[in-house]
Amino acid sequence: MTAVRVLVGTHKGAFILTSDGKRESWDVEGPLFGGWEIYHMKGSPADPNRLYASQSMGWFGQVVQRSDDGGKTWTPVGNKFDYDGVAGTHQWYDGTPHPWEFARVWHFEPSLADPDTVYAGVEDAALFRTTDGGQNWEELSGLRKQDSGPHWQPGAGGLCLHTIIQDPSDTARMYVAISAAGAFRTDDGAKTWKPINKGLHSAQLPDPDAEVGHCVHHVAMHPDKPGVLYMQKHWDVMRSDDAGDSWHEVSGDLPTDFGFVIDVHAHEPETIYVVPIKSDSEHYVPDGKLRVFRSRTGGGEWEPLTKGLPQTGCYHNVLRDAMAVDSLDPCGVYFGTSGGQVYASNNAGDSWTAIAADLPKVLSVEVQSLP
């Protein structure tokens, strides 16, 4: 019997939603770590009972929680994120140099092969790794120390490394994305990195085609086509067919191409999902309608998915890590809103059901498909 576990991080705690393979009836457990911001929670592909959660709070800083039993019990593990060597500076909002300072973990990406190895994307933007189940973290400083690092400047949400993608066909290749620096790729196991932002155009930059400085909101990849990347940028939905070496816009007929989330269907590498947001200052869905847009053509042509979603008076946002897909058939799609709803579709987006409502603001959604 298959099952699904949805890991929801919110502004005031974590929730775990479970269902059988039909995905019609849901049990909701939580809040876990009540009162703390749970920026992200994710399970290991190599051991689905191994979970990691980023727990933080303005008063008490960063805590890392680990579960070895699928979220029944949790243990705090290492929370020391010490930048490698002399940390140096990046650009502050006013253009002056500013020391690198750790604020929080935005994203955990467990290794595809080893449950004890996890990558962490943090603010101020850097990539860390543990190889002992979270007890100790080391910075993979080749990213931050490549040429453009001192010139990175935070976006409104902070200088955060929020996206980490491992190439399942090449263990030495990995992608990260940083707001507001852009996307980067390593081909040598995180020793060296290069910006991969050619083709991005951001009118908010003095040089709209600059090599770095683009506010990339999220990047997604299908494991069967690891050279194809999809990006939701500040404005513009983008696609790369050459592992990020170049990008072209696939916003097509979307009502607005601003947004945060983007994800790919589990079984159809050319089927992608976004949730358009009205604008960079109006962080809510346009026209009071909560609509997921699906493209079955890898972008360019989009259809609104509305069945089961509020179509009047809705002014929620969907944050960058708050959409995920399961690997069942039909593919399940899940997303959480700033209004505290978690919506699920058990038919690839054709219809939706609120599987949790009235939670705190949803920061992240991840899904595990269980045997």
Binding site: F60, V63, P76, K80, D82
Partner: protein, 98 residues
């Protein structure tokens, strides 16, 4: 024996009650008490002060015997009432919000 009172979130994290009691070697300073606290409860490392610089987190305050000693520095001696165990060193999550 030094008594340390913790805020609710840190009590939950450390799995303790309202107060903990610590043996602290002389001289009993604020820094020495925090060292002893983190040694006894490693999950509190980084939640009260930075793990590298040892600086107090911005929204943490230390109260003792009805005085705010947050700015006294790690080498400052604690009040006699705390040293004598009649008053706890209070770790406080500062009022922050609107």
């Amino acid at each position: 024996m030094i008594r340390v009172a913790l805020p609710a979130h840190l009590r939950n994290l450390a799995g303790v009650g309202h107060e903990v009691e610590l043996d602290v070697a002389e001289p009993v300073t604020l820094g020495a008490v925090l060292d002893a606290l983190e040694a006894s409860y490693p999950t509190l490392r980084g939640t009260i002060r930075d793990q590298v610089t040892k600086q107090r987190r911005p929204f943490i305050r230390f109260f003792a015997n009805e005085a705010d000693i947050s700015h006294d520095g790690p080498d400052a001696a604690l009040p006699a009432a705390v040293l004598g165990g009649t008053e706890p060193l209070m770790v406080i999550g500062a009022m922050a919000g609107g």
